[in-house]
């Protein structure tokens, strides 16, 4: 990062170092989000360029990888927005209100602990299937939920990531929860030990 600020010939060497140190980890994250090798490679390269463009904003008081990863995440969200992949919650989801209420009702009971491998595998399969559907229908919302679970993001951190006002962020988080309830309804029912709604 020092080379970035100072400029000159050291930049090229530093860019190579950036690629060697961080490509693998960022590519795996990007691939998981975009599910396309080419798109993931492009996103990582865009991220490295943005790292260079924004290096003056890195103060060195936080770890480098999370700072770079936040840039990658913003890039992914921009991509989702540009592609217009979000499916509005109400379109083709006539059962939404019912599903949301059903998940709320189900979670009144204690989550059942899977008592055998078969049930654990069944739950995991169901979750993967529902989650994949969620990612296809609402990639931004699914991505933000996964980042909250992985890194414990706060409301303020989510607002920074989304580049939205606190009010708009609150609305987005609320939408995340609603969408999760709709797309994961089958898994919630299985996880809480009831029949699917």
């Amino acid at each position: 990062m020092r080379a970035c600020r100072e400029g000159g010939a050291a930049i090229e060497q530093a860019l190579r170092r950036l690629d060697r140190d961080f490509f693998a980890v960022l590519y795996s994250r990007a691939l998981r989000l975009l599910r396309s090798a080419d798109a993931a490679r492009d996103l990582v390269q865009d991220t490295f360029i943005k790292v260079w463009q924004r290096c003056s904003t890195y103060h060195g008081d936080s770890e480098l990888l999370p700072w770079i990863e936040a840039i990658l995440r913003r890039g992914a969200l921009d991509l989702f927005r540009r592609q217009g992949r979000e499916v509005p919650l109400d379109e083709g989801q006539g059962m939404n209100a019912e599903l949301i209420a059903r998940v709320a009702e189900l979670s009144q009971s204690e989550i059942a602990t899977p008592d055998d491998d078969l049930r654990r595998a069944q739950l995991a399969d169901c979750f993967q299937r529902c989650w994949a559907e969620f990612e296809r229908a609402a990639p931004s919302h699914a991505a933000v939920i996964s980042w909250i679970a992985a890194d414990g993001l706060s409301h303020e951190e989510i607002a920074t990531l989304l580049e939205r006002s606190p009010g708009a962020t609150r609305e987005f988080i609320s939408q995340c929860r609603k969408r999760a309830r709709v797309h994961l309804a089958e898994w919630y029912a299985l996880a809480f030990g009831k029949d699917a709604p």
Binding site: A9, Q13, R20, E110, L123, W131, I148
Partner: protein
Amino acid sequence: MNESDIEWLDALAGREAPESATRREAQALRAALRSPAPAAITAEPPNLAREAQLIARAVEEKLIAPGPPLRRSRWLLPIAAGVLLTFSAGILLQYQQQSTQPEVVRGDDAVVRIAADDPAALKHRILRELRAAGVEATGYEALGAYGIDAELPLPLSDAVKRVLESHHIPEPADGVLRVEIRGRE
């Protein structure tokens, strides 16, 4: 976003939240998302072609630029001008004598920099010779600079040594060869 959504966010993020249906809903989702733990990512060997693409992109974006100007003082400029005038004739003569031979300099950043009359032709020639010597070399071009990246199998074969020697390129100790060729200024 109501109180319940705030509880949901806190529980999903792994923060303390009061026992409730909302917490259970979020905790179930958190557990499912975090299981199994993601596989550890291992560092991968350098991919010179990919790095070359990144450098080319950085040049396109005008990120690679000369370093900051040196701090000048009032007395430094006249002295530098005097020194320049004194030696300019000699330097010019020397330059004219050597202008047909590429000048090779190995920088501190392990990049071998060559100034040549026809950088594109020299790049193609070195690439061709390296490949003929069994080296997978990658060439690139960005804003007037021509580059070659290659990972030389160690120990260096005689054929590779001959190619390097013929162009006055020092043998890289780590086997990573990076050459940048520019036209003479």
